[in-house]
């Protein structure tokens, strides 16, 4: 196999309404399984995936946050949250269920230009 590529998985959609959140996370974990350099970015409604105290039992779904601990287990490089998206939703880091790197648009622009493969979800 070639040298590892860098993968960035971008999550722009909310959990529960569609299966996008779960299926995006499965891709992130799979890139890590392949020993690639993997990072994950949450922006727009994707931010909502990270909210504390989610409990979807009454809508008979699995907790979208249940697989987040796997990101660390599989050595996912970094988890980013776009500052503008957080602010637009009246939310801050204390509302999120795990430590993340809040990143401004300028740094985000740099981050994105340095990825080999960007997968949006």
């Amino acid at each position: 196999m070639m040298n590892p590529k860098s993968f960035l998985i971008i999550n722009r959609h909310s959990p529960y309404q569609t299966n996008s959140a779960k299926e995006a996370l499965d891709v992130a974990l799979m890139t890590a399984v392949f020993n690639q350099k993997t990072s994950v970015l949450f922006m727009d409604d994707g931010i909502y995936q990270l909210l504390k105290k989610q409990d979807p039992t009454d809508i008979t779904q699995k907790n979208s946050a249940a697989t987040f601990p796997m990101l660390e287990m599989y050595d996912v490089d970094a988890v980013y949250v776009e500052q503008a998206s957080l602010e637009a939703r009246n939310l801050n880091e204390q509302d999120l269920l795990m430590p993340v790197q809040v990143i401004d648009s300028e740094s985000l622009r740099e981050l994105i230009e340095n990825q080999t493969i960007i997968l949006n979800f």
Partner: protein
């Protein structure tokens, strides 16, 4: 009161199948009647019998089948929408020369007129959009 439901979203692409299912149960629990549940657009995917979701996820089509049979609900899948999207019963499989069929038990393929008729004959038509 007499309710009808229209469902436009497919499992996994939309929460409509979940919300509509909980709503349908609440209609019955509240003592109302369900005249018809009409599956349209991508909602026709609720009626497949070939889905095998992981054990810790709800089996949405199977859950509808049980609900429909338990409560003797008229569950109509729009035939034009279903043919386009590959949801067919044995009769249509024969007509279109397809090697198999996948419509789950309890569902009926019929025309779009059944949606309009449901709107006319029911006190409330509640739509669950994609």
């Amino acid at each position: 009161m007499i309710f009808s439901l229209a469902i436009y979203g497919a499992p996994y692409a939309s929460q409509a199948p979940d919300t509509a299912y909980q709503f349908a149960n609440a209609v019955i629990a509240s003592g109302h009647k369900i005249h018809r549940i009409f599956f349209y657009m991508d909602g026709v995917q609720n009626a497949t019998k070939l889905a095998s979701p992981p054990q810790d996820e709800a089996d949405i089509p199977a859950r509808w089948s049980r609900f429909i049979l338990d409560h003797q609900i008229d569950a109509v899948v729009c035939i034009a929408a279903a043919l386009r999207r590959g949801v067919i019963n044995e009769e249509e499989a024969n007509r279109y020369d397809k090697p198999s069929s996948n419509l789950a038990e309890g569902f009926t393929l019929s025309g779009l007129g059944q949606l309009v008729e449901a709107g006319i004959e029911s006190d409330r038509l509640v739509t669950f959009g994609y």
